[in-house]
């Protein structure tokens, strides 16, 4: 049990170190510019002089659930399928050249 706890602690510790390494990104000039731009966009939106968007119908309950699921399946499934196909191709090529 203590081994597992030690491993949990290591994973959490390393994750905290990684997070601390990312933190300075938030104080860069680029981050400040981005925040400024977003604040301006928000203010323009509230004033009503921002870019006009055509009103869209809210998605149905089925669409709200199926839409993200389809997106995730495609975003993960396509790369996974391509890797499997690539590995299969490499294995076949190897077996042919070794014959």
């Amino acid at each position: 049990m203590s081994v597992l706890l030690r491993r949990f602690a290591i994973v959490l510790g390393v994750s905290v170190l990684f997070s601390l390494a990312f933190a300075p990104l938030g104080s860069t000039e680029r981050a400040a510019k981005h925040r400024h731009k977003r604040a301006e966009q928000r203010a323009a939106g509230q004033r009503g002089d921002g870019p006009k968007k055509a009103p869209r119908e809210p998605p149905s309950a089925v669409g709200r659930i199926a839409g993200p699921l389809i997106k995730e399946t495609v975003f993960m499934g396509v790369p996974a399928g391509l890797v499997v196909l690539f590995a299969f191709g490499v294995r076949r090529l190897r077996s042919r050249t070794s014959d």
Binding site: F8, F18, R64, L69
Partner: protein, 153 residues
């Protein structure tokens, strides 16, 4: 020194399936709503940590031998897994700083950050194809584990 417990393929497969399904749920804030998305993400973190802990032996073995001769597939897996881990931690971290429901429930003065919010959105979308490739790289193990589970059932 205590010996680490032996973890069965069945347990690993069960955790991996739980991880994949919970990832699909937390990656869909449009479906769950932001509040539930954030709270489910908090619950997702321990599952992710358990996934790492269960595969500890492989992780330790590979990274210890990383600079020594190692098979190309294993090396690609090791680099890819490290990349996914880094992006995953980034997604958690940016998600916390962009929190609109979970963190403000404890810290009333907390204001979600637009910069981290946008980065969270971009990196969480990037995570999906990275994980897809991860699944593809481990497809052989997944198929073997499912077959073994079917045979033992």
């Amino acid at each position: 020194m205590a010996t680490p417990p032996r973890i069965s393929t069945r347990t690993k497969l069960a955790v991996d399936v739980t991880l994949l399904l919970s990832l699909m749920v937390v990656s869909a804030p449009q479906a769950t709503g932001i509040g539930l998305h954030e709270w489910l993400s908090v619950l997702f973190v321990p599952v992710f940590v358990v996934h790492l802990v269960l595969n500890w032996d492989w992780i330790a073995r590979v990274y210890r031998r990383f600079l020594k001769p190692l098979g190309a597939t294993t090396r690609i897996n090791a680099v890819w897994d490290l990349l996914i881990y880094g992006v995953m931690v980034f997604v958690f971290f940016s998600g916390v700083l962009a929190s609109r429901a979970a963190l403000p429930a404890f810290l009333t003065a907390f204001v979600p950050d637009a910069f981290w919010n946008d980065l969270h959105h971009v990196t969480s979308n990037l995570l999906l194809p990275l994980l897809g490739i991860h699944l593809g790289l481990h497809a052989k193990w997944i198929v073997r584990a499912i077959r073994a589970r079917k045979e033992s059932a």
